[in-house]
Every structure is written in C-alpha cells, then in structure tokens.
Symmetry: C3
C-alpha cells in the first residue's frame, strides 16, 4: 500500500486482529460496553441478507435480544485476509464458525453455522474501529430442523 | 534466519498466512481459479498417505471431483508454526479441522476430521506459493460409520 | 509499551503465538518433552477452578494421566489478545475449543468444550515461556450427560 511502510502495515494488521479478537470475546462474554466501543457509531451490519442494521446501537440491541441472558454463544474467526485502501481504511475477510446453545422447557437446543465475514475498518482518532460487517453463511444447521434427531 | 532481517521475516510470515487464508477460502467457495493460482505447478500433495498427487493440476482435479458441485466444505487452519530455510523457502505446520456436509437420496451425510498440515512454501517471481502439502489426520469420523447413529 | 519498539513488540508477539502453537500441537500429539520445554518450571495452572497445579512437572503429570495413551485430543486456540507489561513479560487471552474422543468397552465417548485461556508469559534467557494458564470455560458437554443420546 502506497503511503504505508511495511512496519506501519504490520502494526495496523495486529491492531485489526486485536480488534477482531476483542469483538469475538465481547459477544461471547456478553460484555456489551466493550462490544459497543469497538464499532463506529455509523457501523452497518448485513446479517446474511436477513437483517440490516444501520448503526452500532441498533446492531447491539438486536444481538443482545437474540442472544438473551441465557444463550451461550461461541464465535471463532479464522484466517484473515486484510487489505489496506489507505493508512486509515482497510477491508477484511475472515472464515467463521458460531455455535449457540440454549434450553427451552428443559430441551437442549443449538445452532451451528459456518461462513465468511466481510468487514471494513477505519482508524478514527488513532483507533481502529469496525465500520461494517457482512456475514455470508455457507452452512447453518439448528436443532429444530426436521432431520435433527437426538443432537 | 541468516539473510533475513526481523522485518523481512515478519512480512514473509504475513504473506504466507495470507496465502493459507486464501487457500482455505478458495476451496470452501469452490473458487478453483484462485485455488490453482496459489500453488506451484509442481506442487506435491500427500493426503494422509491415501493419495499422492504430483502436480497442482492433478490435485485440483481430484479435490474438485471429491467435493463435487454439491458438497459444502469448511476448512479451518490453526496456530501456524512457520520456519524459514532461506529468504525464499519456508516450512509450516498448521492445526486443521474440516467439516463436509452433503446429501444422498435425501439423507444428510457428513465428515469431520482433525489433524495437522505439514507444508512447504517458495517465493517465486516475488510471490509465495505452496510447493507441498502433507495432511496427517489425528481423527476422522463420518456419518457412514457403523456406530454413527442419529447424527 | 514503553521500552519496546514497534518492531520488537511484533517480534515478541510472533514468538508468543509460536509458543502457543507448539503447545497445542505438543498436547495433541502427546509430545510431552516438547510440552515441558515450553513451560517455566514454576508454571501455575488453574483448570477452570477444579484443579490447581503449581509446577510444570505436576501439570504435565496430570495432563498425561487424564489423556492417557488412548484418548485423542484436539486443542484449537483462537484470536489472541496479547499485552506487554515489559519487554520480557506479557499477558494473553485466547478463545479455545477442545474435543476429546475415546472408547470404553467399545462405546465411543467424547467431551467438547469452549472457553477462554488467560495466560502469562515470560522471556527467560532469551526464550518466551508460559508462566501461568487459567482456563475459564463457557460451555462443556460430554457423552455421559443424561441428555446425550445417539452422539
């Protein structure tokens, strides 16, 4: 990237990987203050074409609601491909897996999904933030599918 | 590594991690042109001692055939150990998990495996490429095993 | 971190990631000599509040015993958050998943868990070592739970 030395690019890469790590931990420990602090206020989410949330506040309200206090979630992100458009703008693709576990009326329920996150990041006031996230799933399966028996 | 500065080594490490990320995404999105572009023409594959493919073309023909148009695959690679033999030659070990899902006659089938990739890389004409991949599985289970019931 | 240049920090980060990668591979390939070499002799482990082991020797004796020669284990670590307290002291949080598979009397048994590792590292005599590991699980399920049928 013109305008960034190799060292500047490597530092920014680690910053963005750390941002992602904190996001995955924030959602899975339900640390919503941390979660909010990692996203630009005007963050746009596209959740596999089903949901579109045009601010960080709206996204977090929906994520909190869908997970509730009792669902246990696991988000693991893999093998980033990060490219810089400028020293303060970047794009990233990550492999992902999520597993969600909960109970209803004593029955154990779950969701397991795979796919790719397509994200953008901006460095604002010296800090990298998420500015958009688009999830495209390749596979999802839940305990309520007709063919899901026993597990 | 003699002959590489710390900065040169870190840049090469990120290049190889990016190569790996693009490979995992290429196979799971069935982007075979991208997949081919990441491998040296003389790439050698050893698939857990069962298959040995002595060119990138032969490997990709076999991978395409085994996945077909309808199987959904997920390849996640973990925790690389990358060492440099020279500024243009490196070796890597990665933890791996793959999950493959498909249907036959309306029955949902799957394979889940774990193990380690042992790989080599070369920088040719300024670009890092895979030159060999050896998969050694520690565990594999499929839906067609006699003891696999329900799932 | 005061006292470390960006380049020194990036080199130390890669050293710690490599340390972690070698640990995950050592346990899953039962390479106990390698496993021991990665930990400070005075390493302290806290295994989700159930076990506390106050030396590397004691920890490894217990890990070897719990895995035995026949259990197949998979430890995958994700998305590190590493911070430096000094050029020779660091802390890290990693997402984790482990899967353990074994048989008893011809019955296939397993454990699957998720959570976070909270670790500390020290550079002693030029080499980064683990000095402590605290596992906090968010979810664990085993084949011997009453509700686990079929799988």
């Amino acid at each position: 990237m013109e305008g960034m030395s190799d060292l500047e690019r490597l530092v920014a890469l680690e910053d963005i990987k750390l941002l992602k790590a904190r996001r995955d931990r924030a959602v899975d420990t339900k640390d919503w203050d941390l979660y909010l602090s990692l996203h630009a206020p005007d963050h746009v989410s596209d959740n596999d074409g089903f949901d579109r949330w045009e601010s960080a506040e709206v996204m977090i309200a929906n994520v909190r609601k869908s997970l509730g206090p009792d669902k246990i979630s696991v988000h693991h992100s893999h093998s980033p491909e990060i490219t810089f458009e400028s020293p303060t703008k970047a794009k990233g693709i990550w492999g992902m897996e999520d597993n969600i576990h909960w109970e209803e009326d004593g029955t154990r329920l779950w969701l397991q999904g795979y796919g790719f996150y397509h994200e953008t990041y901006e460095k604002r006031d010296g800090t990298w933030l998420f500015t958009s996230r688009r999830l495209r799933r390749t596979y999802v399966r839940t305990s309520v599918e007709p063919d899901a028996i026993g597990d």
